[in-house]
Symmetry: C2
Subunit: 510 residues, 2 copies
């Protein structure tokens, strides 16, 4: 037992260093996006390449393999607690993947991702898919190779499943296809009902000019409302500005970014709420598990469930705005003084098919995701080729959303994910929404008056519930087990559809 | 020759990685001072401890020792160029020092520095030297041990000389004592003349309230004037806010900080100019030598010469303000509209003994340094003890500046240097001023009309001259050789005294 304990301790020390190192590197990345003087890009690339090489050396240290062997072969292994076993499981999974991918392949992928991202930016600006095509083809070939190796390590059915597993452990394309089928059906029906309704919101109120200085004040007030602390002497967060909002950090240092557009103040409002949802999750992981793999988030899907929960279920609810609209009116002076609560809530919940995923409403959002999932799956199954992407994309947008894509920059080239090699990530966005619906049902059982609390600006009960029922579990369970743990149910689309149905039937009178 | 070349290349690759790593760590430090949410301090300490351990491993890598041996024993060694030889010299010096200090001692010093700094803050707040004394004694003992080891490695005459050498290579306490003697004499004479003058500046104009938002605009305008770019699309710098202003960075990413006090706008003006002087030096090191030891700054004293040059020789000159005062008036609205050029220039050049070094004028500043230098030297020579510091300090302030120190917080505990273990650093401040006087004489020979250019807001000729005659040499020479190279003279106090004499005789009519 002593040998086992000492091996476990040594292993955890190594992993602790790796997690601390990664948290330092995340600051360097954050700085690059938010603060870095533009001229520094060359030095920064060198720094990141070096740090990434050091990180790779740390995470593939053969000593980790030996310690894992000692531990797993120990006659006392079964005496370990379930948290310790989970740590070992997560470390081994990560280590096996990292060490099985040949270094040359990892380097080739990193390089090709950089090239493809760069070309994507130019091709998107030029609305020219043929510029992008050859580089995406090269990248896809490399990603397929990696996926095939990972498939063996993870023993998944297909290479694409091995990629999904990176973001949503144990999830498969087959399982996703099943829930996405049901999801699509529900969403399309809802969309038709909204479109058929004669009641339409006046969204012009969202185009009223709000100076950026005032939007910054709104962002601070929103952060305060959802208890994401950026201002006190013990704050663990901050809000900065980038073109694409993101969240980064670890426990007591979790930072979000947003963008401010003078003629679209709602954009920063919902991006702040979205990122605050991510940030609150990271900040409230079990503090006893800091520097341990169990003390990290469960999955990309669960992360998205938390951001969408705060952005949509809370942040686009009538109750939230019955509290926050008067505040918003106060901060913005006379800009919104004539706007009624109902008018505002309907405006920020307009349902309308649009070409761009990140601008989509709650009803159509997942349809964008389903299109991407189907395409990814077929790409990796070699049923379709990169050259066919624009045609397939445009046909899908016609079929699902009734839209005509005018050019590939508003079509297949709109997102950075494929250019950056993030294949297998898209499903997480929709899974997050599905989880959020199930989580809502459970929360309503235990916090029946949450809507009343929110309407008084009291986010505490909701936050505490999320912390105790979602955040604190960290990475103790795979997502399928976690949703079971929280809701006592398997993954289920119905609660999300029901939530949308109830909300939008009121807004659109159906 | 091939073996030599390949060893040199390998060595330089290792050192390149070390410099890149250090530049990344400096971002983490900068973030801690400027951006970090307060709650993150524990995670940050862990990050810094880990990064510092990795840095130590990189800088003491035995492979560096082997490569140095291969190179220095090679029969072709003499065929190397002088830049290559300088790189090897600097690497060897650093490596010998790093590897000769026992790891336990390095760790003990790091720990005791943290403790002493912490206690210093509390003792300073409590005006209680006896709280500080025991920790400073412990630190001094450890620092002495290190200094004794370094004395052997560097073959200096005394342990204190070994510490001076860290900041001002090859400089000795003996040489410093000689120039400081002459410096003191000149300064005291000047001080008496200023004090005897009936012409006194009206410094109340500097206490006029200038809102911080306006001071930020002034800072930006100052940066633009001295060609420290913080705003363009190719900027290599930025200005942020910290209690104690500092400069950090490397080549294309050099950042400064300042502080804004509503009732003391001049404070941020001169701190911005001071730090910009440091920053311009770092940014204009020879770009061909990036990631090489020759491509770093020469010494702390030379760094200080550049900051003091921009802050004082340029920034407190009548010519600078004949250009900038109208701008300042414009930015501040009607706050300073009634102030004449002469009144303003005299106010920012008031000579008046003060207790706090960082607030001292040009004439008395070095007297503060000389007091500290004498005390440090005697401490390390064991002529005085830590317990005697307050008494000796207060006596010195009486003798040199005619001031009565009321308590140790405005006395011996005012600076963080000793608490942080920065023994041997103080002389660099005064050496910097001395160098700046010599550099000025040389520049005037080659840029006779610099004052006229400055009065038109054209800093380019001065900057180009400094770049070509100081910055571009990087660390190719030790400071004594560099001042010779630039001015064709040995270290000499007279030009600095002469500069002060000319300036202050005009201001004070003597």
């Amino acid at each position: 037992m002593e040998v086992l304990e000492s091996s476990y301790k040594k292993l955890m020390d190594k992993v602790k260093n790796l997690l601390i190192f990664q948290s330092a590197v995340s600051i360097i990345h954050w700085d690059m996006e938010t603060m870095m003087p533009p001229k520094a890009i060359n030095i920064r690339s060198q720094q990141l390449a070096l740090l990434s090489a050091i990180e790779h050396r740390m995470s593939t240290d053969p000593e980790i393999g030996k310690l894992l062997d000692n531990i797993m072969r120990s006659p006392h292994y079964e005496e370990l607690g379930h948290i310790q076993k989970r740590n070992i499981y997560l470390i081994k999974k990560q280590y096996d993947e990292q060490t099985r991918l040949p270094e040359e392949l990892v380097a080739a992928i990193a390089k090709q991702r950089a090239i493809t991202t760069d070309v994507w930016k130019k091709a998107k600006a030029a609305k020219n898919f043929s510029m992008f095509k050859p580089e995406l083809e090269k990248l896809l070939e490399l990603e397929k190779k990696a996926a095939e190796i990972l498939m063996e390590v993870k023993q998944t059915k297909t290479p694409y499943d091995a990629l999904i597993d990176i973001f949503e452990p144990k999830m498969t394309a087959e399982a996703i296809a099943k829930v996405f089928g049901e999801l699509k059906e529900g969403l399309v029906l809802l969309l038709r009902k909204c479109e058929a309704s004669l009641k339409k919101p006046d969204t012009s109120i969202l185009q009223r000019r709000v100076p950026i200085e005032i939007q910054r004040k709104i962002a601070k007030e929103l952060a305060k409302t959802v208890e994401y602390d950026i201002e006190s002497n013990t704050a663990g967060g901050r809000i900065d500005e980038t073109e694409h909002p993101f969240t980064t950090g670890y426990y007591d240092d979790v930072r979000i970014t947003t963008h401010y557009h003078e003629n679209n103040f709602a954009s920063s409002i919902f991006s702040v709420l979205h990122e605050a949802g991510h940030a609150i999750y990271e900040q409230n992981l079990n503090p006893e598990w800091i520097y341990q793999p169990v003390g990290t988030a469960c999955s990309s899907g669960f992360h998205e469930s938390q951001s969408r929960f705060v952005e949509n279920i809370i942040g686009r609810s009538k109750e939230f705005w019955s509290y926050f609209l008067p505040k918003l009116k106060e901060i913005t002076g006379n800009i919104l003084s004539d706007v009624s609560l109902n008018a505002f809530v309907h405006a920020v919940n307009e349902v309308k098919p649009s070409k761009i995923r990140v601008e989509a409403d709650e009803v159509t959002y997942c349809l964008h995701i389903i299109i991407r999932f189907n395409i990814e799956r077929d790409l990796f199954a070699e049923k379709i080729s990169v050259g066919e992407l624009p045609e397939i994309w445009n046909q899908n947008y016609k079929d699902y959303l009734g839209l005509t894509i005018e050019n590939d920059s508003e079509g297949v080239m709109q997102d950075t994910h494929w250019a950056s090699g993030l294949f297998g990530y898209f499903p997480s966005y929709a899974l997050g929404n599905i989880y959020s619906g199930q989580i809502l049902v459970q929360m309503e059982k235990e916090q029946a008056n949450w809507r009343e609390q929110i309407s008084r600006g009291n986010f505490s009960p909701v936050k505490s519930w999320l912390v105790n029922n979602v955040h604190r579990y960290g990475n103790l369970y795979d997502p399928a087990d976690l949703i079971k743990k929280i809701t006592d149910k398997e993954l289920d689309v119905k609660p999300y559809i029901k939530y949308l149905e109830e909300k939008y039937s009121k807004l659109y009178d159906f």
